[in-house]
């Protein structure tokens, strides 16, 4: 079967009952996409099929034939990270990192559709991606900053985003 994976035409021999997730990881050697629940509940295996986020654990590879598939490995250009990746890394939005590839793909699809997503839009778009570390705040803030950067703005993370809220009763000494 053949696909266009991260812009590259790829042809592989794989069992017809294998999912796109298995074929990506095992036959195509792209283990960035993760096995989570394999039940379509956690979103760790999200990839873009023709620019739409799809749970690759629920899609048979054979059904994705001829489609354009994008995985986390295809996000960076050369050595330059995609703004989403850069902000995720800067904010520490990737903790253990297992859910990160799926979230990056979902967020990319969101920003492609809506260049100025509100916090609600981001939460709604990422509702199908579960983070076991529960680091949702940073994830949402990172998506927000990346969207701003892609709009051509120069976003700066708020002090609270990087260091947390000041301890009550303790004066912040600077600014």
């Amino acid at each position: 079967m053949s696909f266009v994976v991260n812009g590259e035409e790829r042809t592989v021999v794989a069992a017809v009952h294998h999912t796109l997730l298995e074929v990506l990881r095992e036959e195509l050697g792209l283990p960035g996409t993760k096995h989570g629940c394999e039940l379509g509940e956690c979103g760790a295996c999200t990839v873009l099929v023709d620019e739409v986020p799809v749970l690759s654990c629920l899609l048979l590879a054979i059904d994705a034939q001829g489609k354009r598939i994008e995985t986390v490995e295809g996000m960076q250009v050369g050595n330059t990270l995609h703004p989403l990746q850069a902000h995720f890394a800067d904010l520490g939005a990737a903790q253990c990192g297992y859910c990160t590839p799926g979230i990056l793909m979902t967020a990319k699809a969101l920003i492609a559709e809506n260049a100025s997503p509100t916090t609600d839009d981001i939460c709604q778009a990422l509702a199908g991606n579960i983070c076991r570390c529960t680091g949702y705040h940073k994830i949402i803030q990172a998506v927000d900053l990346a969207a701003a950067e892609l709009r051509g703005e120069k976003p700066v993370a708020a002090r609270e985003v990087l260091y947390g809220s000041p301890v009550p009763g303790e004066e912040t000494q600077d600014e």
Binding site: L30, L81, A89, A94, T100, P101
Partner: protein
């Protein structure tokens, strides 16, 4: 304090500006995490790697009887099987898990309790073999609700 070996590597700067304190830093593994290059256990692959599938209990509480592996052994790619009898030692390191075994010994205590582990050359072969393992169960009583437990208590 005047010990020369204890001298800081560098004199503190005159200015207020510090090099590290108060500066956000990207985690050392941040880049690997966002590019999908971090290796998790599931991402490791080795030459001649074997795959394991677990046969789990369909019963909530039962005594394990005979385990028949004769059909499973004939599945192409089958390498071996383990049962609770192979794991005499408990493996728990936490106080709550000190009586746990890797596989059930004698009794299953919930639906999904692991009973047999099947190793094979591929994941598909291990799965196929796990489907044809025959385990006999002798059901034991269960208490599934508070009401049931209260009734039982009153006799």
């Amino acid at each position: 304090m005047s010990d020369p070996a204890r001298k800081p590597a560098r004199e503190p700067k005159e200015s207020e500006e510090l090099d590290l304190i108060g500066k956000p830093f990207r985690r050392v593994d941040g880049r690997a995490k966002v590019t999908g290059t971090t290796k998790f256990a599931d991402d490791l692959e080795f030459p001649r790697m074997a795959y394991i599938k677990l046969v789990r209990s369909p019963m909530p509480h039962a005594r394990i009887g005979a385990i028949d592996l004769s059909v499973a052994e004939k599945v192409p790619g089958f390498l071996g099987a383990l049962t609770g009898d192979d794991f005499e030692e408990t493996f728990g390191i936490l106080p709550v898990s000190q009586d746990e075994h890797a596989l059930c010994r004698g009794v299953v205590r919930f639906v999904g309790d692991p009973v047999v582990a099947i190793a094979a050359t591929t994941e598909d072969a291990a799965y196929e073999a796990s489907l044809v393992v025959e385990v006999e169960y002798e059901p034991l009583e269960t208490i599934a609700s508070i009401e049931e437990a209260a009734t039982r208590l009153r006799g």
